[in-house]
Symmetry: C2
Subunit: 478 residues, 2 copies
């Protein structure tokens, strides 16, 4: 038998050392490799295939909602980045600067885009003249660079892949509507495609995007009780339009400023999938983003007829799912572990006895449950099983999230929750930045969002005891 | 009526000033906008939609031939770029250098990738150990940067979008086979999807890719008689493997170097489409890469029933083609010009009289031919028409290419052809670099390729009169 990779070695226990478990999974599931550039990862075929599935399904949603894709340059001249005051303050400290082109020093430094608001504004100024040119609903798929001090694969990398939507509208109402619409697209995508439940809400002023009037977010909870900001949608009002002079002539022939939004999701979503669904056998993928939805493992494959039957099943099931047949000479046990590590939703085992009985064994990755099913209507069984796994993963994640969401009405409770159980803390807040800062200092938790679904937990701020304005989700965050 | 853009203004005559015609088309067909970064263009929605269609169809071919997509960092440390001597000499003079991350100077300069051989090699060294790990058939979709002195939209830009395939094989035979296989994928794609005929062949040593053992190319001929290198495929042998130490253990347990290839196609293909098929009314798109394959223009659209019928047709035809209905209040004449400029393959006109007669008018963009067809089997008519346009464009381009391909047996003929008619010149060559240099000096033509289909035009080199080794295609090139 072949020399087998030590792939089936057990990974670190997630309850013992969650960060190490995470690192083990991204490496052993062949999602990434480290590169020789600090903080930049290599996304390997299996990891990239997950991203392609995310991209395809998100892109369809963007197009259904009337958006068009464009491509902007990857460089931003320093003077352009500086046009909007808050924006440059937020981003300048973390950009990469290009100073030389070939042998020559450039007359002006260019930064590698950390985000492209300034480029879109510069373009919109050229192409928007009349109300007839509005709205502009653009999106871009690309990579961006932010010079991060500490990095982790998918969660925080110097370069990452993302999409950034940038839109321009005639009125404040329209830009607000767009901002919320795209937040809902994100929330639906996480829930229905990634099986990740999210809390929708608004960021506090402290946590707002640099230059935004309002920032909305979807927040999810990882297995270790930490929160992950999974997508954001910003309403800029007319702030950028004023800084860049983006004006249009309205129906009464008056000059008006446009109102803008932007919204983005990144390869960080792959980190969320790992940390929400993964277990001590490795990755667990929701079927809708699984590059392989079902793997066929022949048992006693040297026996007559086994490989033929396995190929026949691959052919049949390939019409309803993404199927791989592993007929290499590795042992079935090794293969079981490998595809568990890779999070393949369903394993199909077929051997001589199964063939005799016109049956196969299906094993679910999410529960480990084995069922023996007839070969006759296998297409239906597999389709139903994948659907069930997709929704079971959402249910499990929602239960875990809810179990790890607790209410605090004073600071002692707040600290106790985060020390003992971690997770989300729901607590009332007066609206003052000082209380946010104090909570962070005491507990290292930040405000995750002011959720759209408000609850009156008490009348007073969990920190200062003054009159409460909002119920807020708090948590330690990635 | 609305104030109409001056979109229908005639563009520059292509026979009078081809470069200006080209610039007019890319702007007026809304393919690009200029950006404030020298040499970088903005690809607008209509241009990007063409790229998405190219990408989708090429990517399918790559996957069918067993390739997997990955994503490498956009930065290359200077020391990594320098590992292969010829490669760094070829690229270092034209890269953009990042020297600062945030506030700090970097310990080592990073260049923005001009191509990613060095990154793939660095990764392959980590992941290839045994013959079982081979072949590696990877591809990447991304943008690259080359600091160009003179730039033109799509044809030569500082940043451009492309795909770069990078593969590693056990033997020299396998890497050679892969190199040719991918050249053939490119040639088929140009011929069958873009309707652009190509000459397949090998580059001379002078025109080889920096670091390659052999470079193969597909060359196409533009409307102005200039050649365009449309795709290249390189066999590196084990040169990079030796520079980077990429070794594997073979079946006899001996250490061997891998053999590598790379191959790429870029947004330049959009420039080729414009310059091969375009005319004095603007862009002409082959149906397979047309974002809109058929545009419906209602005539007398305020008359009862016209818009209803137009919508009904859109619904029906939307099932067999990419269809747009333009029911804006602009005049039909204006719309005709606009969609001609945008190169939409088929225009469908429907007015009250047509409805009365259960017919529509179909107008082909490639020939201007109008036909009246019954509404009854419109799906079939449109499908057949699109197919016919696709092949007619190829036939026309092939005829034009052949008409503009001439034979020279001495330097006087060579110069005469390029002065009077331009186009490809077929001529024999001794194999000496000195003759290539002399021809370039005299005529500004370069060797385009040593075609696979060789012809014996004479026994002697067109330049020096010594014994000829190869028949070569020559031409002035973009």
């Amino acid at each position: 038998m072949a020399k087998e990779k030590n792939f089936v070695e057990s990974i670190t226990d997630m309850e013992v050392d969650f960060p190490q478990w995470y690192t083990d999974v991204v490496k052993k599931a062949d999602l990434i490799d480290y590169s020789s550039i600090k903080g930049c990862m290599i996304i390997r075929p299996y990891g990239y295939a997950i991203w392609e599935l995310i991209q395809k399904q998100l892109d369809e949603k963007f197009k259904e909602t009337g958006h068009e894709n464009v491509y902007m340059p990857m460089f931003i001249p320093e003077s352009l980045l500086q046009k909007e005051k808050d924006h440059v303050e937020g981003f300048a400290p973390e950009v990469a600067w290009v100073t030389h082109g070939g042998e020559n020093e450039l007359p002006e430094r260019l930064c590698v885009r950390p985000t492209s608001e300034t480029l879109f504004c510069d373009h919109y100024k050229n192409i928007i003249q009349s109300y007839r040119d509005l709205p502009k609903l653009y999106n871009q798929w690309c990579s961006v660079v932010r010079w991060e001090k500490t990095t982790r694969p998918f969660l925080r990398t110097t370069e990452f892949l993302w999409q950034e939507g940038h839109t321009a509208h005639a009125t404040a109402e329209e830009s607000q509507e767009e901002t919320i619409k795209m937040l809902n697209v994100y929330a639906d995508f996480c829930t229905n495609v990634l099986s990740i439940p999210v809390v929708k809400g608004e960021k506090t002023a402290k946590e707002r995007f640099a230059g935004a009037k309002n920032t909305y977010t979807i927040e999810s909870l990882m297995h270790d009780g930490k929160a992950l900001q999974s997508g954001t949608s910003h309403n800029f009002g007319d702030g950028f339009a004023k800084a860049f002079g983006i004006q249009y002539t309205d129906k009464e022939n008056k000059l008006q400023y446009v109102h803008q939004t932007s919204w983005g999701m990144t390869t960080r979503l792959i980190g969320a999938i790992i940390m929400v669904h993964g277990d001590n056998s490795g990755l667990v993928l929701p079927p809708l983003v699984a590059p392989i939805q079902l793997v066929i493992i022949p048992i006693a494959q040297k026996k007559a007829g086994v490989l033929e039957k396995a190929s026949e099943l691959k052919e049949r099931l390939g019409k309803v799912a993404r199927v791989k047949l592993d007929d290499t000479d590795k042992s079935p046990g090794w293969k079981f572990s490998e595809y568990e590590m890779k999070g393949v939703p369903v394993r199909l085992e077929v051997g001589p006895k199964d063939i005799e009985n016109n049956q196969v064994v299906l094993v679910r990755r999410d529960t480990g449950e084995k069922t023996v099913v007839s070969m006759d209507n296998l297409e239906e069984s597999v389709t139903a099983l994948l659907k069930d796994i997709q929704s079971n993963l959402l249910n499990k994640a929602t239960e875990r999230r809810d179990e790890n969401t607790n209410v605090a009405t004073n600071l002692e409770e707040f600290e106790k929750i985060l020390n003992e159980k971690s997770g989300f803390v729901k607590a009332m807040w007066c609206g003052d930045r000082a209380c946010e800062d104090k909570i962070k200092e005491l507990t290292s938790a930040t405000s995750r969002c002011i959720p759209f679904e408000q609850e009156e937990l008490s009348d007073t701020c969990v920190c200062c005891g003054e009159k409460a304005k909002h119920m807020v989700y708090w948590g330690k965050a990635y």
